[in-house]
């Protein structure tokens, strides 16, 4: 009997990254290469009247909209973002053109000499303004039960509203891309999560078939969603430049440029109206989700979907009316970020329940558990919770670990404890998995097995985990599983590396293929096995009505946060997070623990430190001097445990894990702060500035 797959091994990507041997896009050499720098809009919304260009020295080029041979739009869910601005600009930082040439100093010099003449147009800067002006990109609805009747029969109706702010990814390695046109093929190298997204975008921008395009992922220094759709834009830009100049073109952002123009987590307002019966239970809920999509919709519709389908958290509210809207503002576009819309509504729902419980004088945990989902219950979209729900075990473990009940009873002012319960839908939202139809290849060559997938290692441990799944399944040494480099010319499209789907979906396909390969091992020296994803048969989803199972299954968790508030300065000190998760089964316990700790800390950052606001479309915190993320000094004690609950269709029972920890820590911290000061928390980030004001209002 082999050891459990959960037993940790050394991360395969670790040594090269730690020793400095890993070669990122900025370390790569290309013969005869040129550099590119973007000229960006300085206006939030304006008509471009003219672009006056200085005379260009030899070997310097300006690349803009007229150079795009195909469609001048970046392909994504809604392909509305121009690769280069056309008649108007819609946000500060929008790319207008590239200056390309051999020397960076000269490129900068040319950029400063280009004069863009604008005519300013009326712009919208806040969600409130956009709502007033009905600037709606997307407006979705779904219902469950009979909300209207339930509200009519309610004993009490409670309303509440919650806000969340921007968040910048601050991946260690900024965005970077190189394109090289040779052998009648466009080779694009860069830091990214989704090479096939970039390939798809390139086919449209160049107007070429995919066969003439190769996208190669280079070592990627963090992503967190920030390298999901955004690199498609830079990939198209450098490819157009490489085509025009006939030379390799590299574009690497520095941190300040990256912050100004790259996508961020959607700021949100989430409104609740709850109908309570005579037992004070919530029988019906109206939820209104407002997201600031920024100047272009991009993939925001899918973010909005996850936001809406996660809005009821781990609870079963019999009657529901959920509306979600993406609003257009003249802010930098929002995009994918770990959690993908779910953190906004999970925060709101957790705090809504917390606030009602406090008002009723009931312990928030007790009140929450009265509404908890059980196996067999309907999901918010009328699907079904089919798997065993281990929420009671999770809660029991996390309250024991943290001493939650005693600490709540013996609470003192300025010391707070709070709990959050949460879930995350595994894999793509809605019909995403069916549409993508992921493919994988396992190829036996002698004693070795080559694993071909488009799943990218971006620091989360995908390579280690997927190789481990194959090694354990085929029963060969880990070293004998070779991870093919992620190059769209070499690997099949197993989908993007997003939505916590890699281990469960891609890993699941690898396990199936691995079992076949193991059976056929002695047939030949060379065997190739492929698999294409099919949703479990029982899953029924209607993407027009939003009815059915939005996700094949869910991962679950509970966090207890303990905080201390400085009574003089109101600084928030997160002392400890106790965390228990059901992710099916950990494929590598150390890698998973690291991911949980990272997600928890990133969530704490969003909930407390990471203030990012705009003033008339201009970011106020636009560099790492002003925008702070937690350092190792800010990391609290984290105690983390797992409750095994193997999932039938996951490899070795594994479900999703990557985004789950991010979703959980913000509401736990907010509940703890609320407990410490005896005030309701309705917006994050929670800052000392905000708390001092609230506490003196109370006094």
């Amino acid at each position: 009997m082999k050891e459990s797959i959960s037993k940790p091994i050394q991360r395969v990507d670790g040594p090269a990254k730690i020793s400095g041997e890993a070669r990122y896009i900025g370390d790569m050499h290309f013969e005869n290469r040129l550099y590119a720098k973007t000229l960006r809009s300085t206006r939030a919304k304006a008509r471009i009247l003219s672009v006056k260009k200085p005379p260009l020295p030899r070997n310097y080029f300006i690349v803009g909209k007229d150079d795009v041979p195909g469609v001048n739009r970046m392909r994504t869910v809604v392909s509305d973002h121009p690769i280069f601005a056309e008649d108007t600009v819609e946000y500060i930082g929008q790319p207008i053109l590239l200056v390309v040439g051999p020397e960076r100093e000269k490129i900068y010099d040319i950029i400063t000499k280009i004069k863009v003449e604008y005519e300013d147009l009326p712009a919208l800067f806040t969600l409130e303004d956009a709502e007033k002006n009905s600037e709606v990109f997307t407006d979705y609805h779904y219902e469950k039960g009979e909300p209207q009747r339930a509200f009519g029969e309610a004993a009490t109706i409670v309303e509440d509203e919650f806000r969340t702010g921007y968040q910048e990814h601050v991946y260690l390695e900024p965005q970077g891309m190189t394109a090289e046109f040779r052998d009648d093929t466009m080779f694009v190298y860069g830091s990214m999560q989704c090479p096939f997204y970039a390939e798809g975008a390139l086919t449209e921008a160049l107007g070429w078939p995919a066969e003439r395009i190769r996208v190669i992922q280079t070592v990627t220094g963090g992503a967190f969603g920030g390298k999901e759709e955004f690199p498609s834009l830079t990939a198209c830009q450098v490819a157009v430049a490489a085509l025009k100049t006939g030379r390799p073109v590299t574009m690497i952002y520095d941190r300040d440029e990256d912050i100004i123009c790259s996508t961020k987590r959607h700021p949100s307002i989430v409104r609740y109206k709850a109908a309570l019966n005579r037992n004070q239970d919530i029988v019906a809920l109206e939820i209104d989700v407002l997201l600031d999509a920024g100047a272009y919709n991009g993939l925001s519709p899918v973010v909005l979907q996850r936001s809406m389908f996660s809005a009821t958290g781990v609870y079963n509210f019999p009657h529901l009316k959920v509306r979600g809207r993406n609003f257009m503002t003249n802010n930098v576009p929002s995009g994918a970020y770990r959690g993908f819309g779910a953190p906004q509504t999970i925060f709101g729902t957790e705090m809504m329940l917390h606030n009602i419980a406090l008002k009723l004088g009931i312990d928030p945990l007790e009140y929450k558990m009265r509404h908890a989902l059980k196996r067999g219950d309907p999901t918010c979209t009328g699907g079904k919770i089919r798997d065993i729900v281990k929420l009671p075990e999770i809660v029991k473990r996390v309250t024991q670990m943290s001493g939650y009940h005693d600490k709540r009873k013996n609470g003192q002012k300025y010391h707070g404890i709070g709990i959050s319960l949460f879930l995350h839908g595994c894999g793509f939202t809605g019909n995403g998995e069916q549409t993508i139809g992921s493919k994988i290849i396992l190829k036996k060559e002698g004693e070795k097995v080559i694993l071909k997938v488009s799943s990218t290692e971006m620091g989360q441990g995908a390579e280690t985990v997927l190789r481990k799944i194959v090694a354990y399944t085929v029963d060969i040494p880990f070293e004998n599983v070779i991870y093919e480099s992620v190059d769209t010319g070499k690997v099949p499209d197993s989908g993007p590396t997003v939505a916590s789907r890699t281990t469960m979906i891609v890993g699941g396909l690898l396990q199936q293929a691995g079992l076949e390969l193991k059976d056929r091992w002695h047939e030949a020296d060379k065997i190739e096995v492929t698999r294409t994803y099919r949703h479990p048969d029982y899953i029924d989803w209607n993407n027009d009505t939003f009815q059915g199972d939005a996700y094949p299954t869910y991962s679950w968790g509970a966090n207890v946060a303990e905080v201390e508030i400085d009574p003089v300065t109101y600084e928030i000190d997160v002392k400890k997070i106790s965390a228990v998760y059901d992710v099916g089964l950990p494929i590598d316990e150390t890698a998973l623990r690291g991911q949980m700790q990272g997600g928890i800390v990133q969530g704490i950052g969003w909930a407390t430190i990471e203030v990012m606001k705009t003033d008339e479309g201009r970011l106020i915190q636009k560099n790492l001097t002003d925008y702070k993320v937690p350092t190792s000094m800010d990391v609290p004690e984290v105690e983390c445990d797992f409750i095994n609950n193997p999932y039938e269709f996951g490899p070795f029972g594994a479900k999703c894990a990557g985004e789950l920890p991010f979703v959980g820590s913000p509401p736990a911290v907010a509940a703890a702060v609320s407990n410490a000061l005896g005030v309701p928390i309705r917006s994050i980030p929670i800052t000392p500035e905000m708390l001092m004001e609230m506490d003196s209002d109370e006094n």
């Binding site: 960076r104 100093e105 900068y108 690497i252 952002y253 520095d254 300040d256 440029e257 003089v568 300065t569 109101y570 600084e571 430190i609 203030v611 106020i620 915190q621 636009k622 001097t625 002003d626 925008y627 702070k628 993320v629 937690p630 350092t631 190792s632 000094m633 800010d634 000392p688 500035e689 001092m692 004001e693």
Partner: protein, 296 residues
């Protein structure tokens, strides 16, 4: 092109300084950030650089006649590791930037940068530190408060170098320093408070109060401090709102990307009260109790 001079001695440096309009640079932890133009580009230095961080004459740290003489080139890490530096100053230094920055940043640089948020400044103001300014013509010794004339502005003449900082070797019985940043490490200061005092027989013998990051330069008032000296801690605690009002008139913070004027002002005054009510009162009670032999 960025031009630079790297003299071997202070004398040579002063000569170059007299001869050229140049920018002195030591660790560069402020200047390299302020003058950065972007990835892979040369920083925007308009004047030739005069590298002084390595000069042996600026590395000395010694006590002369009960005064601590710190060479302007001494890095923060060395101050932190020195036995000469009082604990309260070390507490301040330990909260500055990060270990890598502290390994480069010099105390002279922190002074000459003259940021309203400069972390060494409240202590230097509170201690009546003096700065030594040298040129080929000789030297001037002036108080820190006279040297710093405004945000990012000093009285440093084009021919001068800041070579030394002189701090009286005085330590106080009661010390309280608080730096408010956006996070626990590697953070610029939103507001800082430093209070130091000596109490004997229930009366305040000496008191120093300085606020950082809440006005154009460090806020310190000799007048208010003098009005406190000689009073009993009890009276001071009773009068706290009056003292608070006096300081409130001097604290004029701004709204910026890191905090709000309202918070900065409020938190400064709350820290001031905390200093009097908790630290001063507690310590003097403790003293009383100790003299009665109630506790060890």
């Amino acid at each position: 092109m960025v031009k630079g001079f790297r003299p071997e001695t202070l004398k040579e440096a002063l000569k170059l300084r007299a001869q050229y309009d140049c920018l002195p640079i030591a660790g560069g932890t402020d200047l390299m950030v302020q003058k950065a133009r972007g990835f892979a580009l040369k920083p925007d230095f308009r004047k030739p650089l005069l590298f002084i961080g390595h000069l042996p004459e600026l590395q000395r740290l010694e006590v002369i006649n009960r005064q601590i003489h710190i060479g302007a080139g001494v890095i923060l890490t060395d101050l932190l590791n020195s036995e000469t530096i009082p604990d309260i100053f070390k507490e301040i230094l330990a909260l500055m930037a990060s270990p890598p920055s502290r390994n480069l940043a010099s105390i002279g640089g922190n002074i000459c940068n003259a940021s309203p948020a400069g972390d060494t400044l409240p202590y230097l103001y509170a201690m009546d530190a003096q700065v030594v300014l040298q040129s080929t013509d000789g030297e001037r010794i002036i108080p820190i408060a006279g040297f710093i004339t405004g945000p990012k502005q000093t009285d440093l003449k084009n021919s001068e170098l800041l070579t030394k900082i002189i701090i009286p070797q005085t330590e106080f019985d009661i010390n309280m320093y608080r730096k408010i940043g956006q996070r626990k490490g590697m953070s610029l200061t939103k507001a800082a408070f430093l209070g130091m005092a000596n109490v004997a027989d229930g009366k305040i013998q000496d008191i120093r109060i300085a606020f950082g990051s809440v006005a154009q330069t460090v806020v310190r008032s000799g007048k208010i401090e003098q009005s406190i000296v000689g009073k009993s801690t009890k009276d001071i605690v009773k009068n706290i709102s009056e003292i608070s009002r006096q300081y409130a008139a001097l604290i004029r913070p701004i709204d910026d990307a890191r905090s709000s004027a309202a918070y900065r002002k409020k938190v400064s005054l709350r820290l001031l009260e905390e200093f009097f009510v908790s630290n001063l009162a507690k310590v003097s009670n403790l003293r009383k109790a100790q003299s009665k032999g109630d506790i060890e």
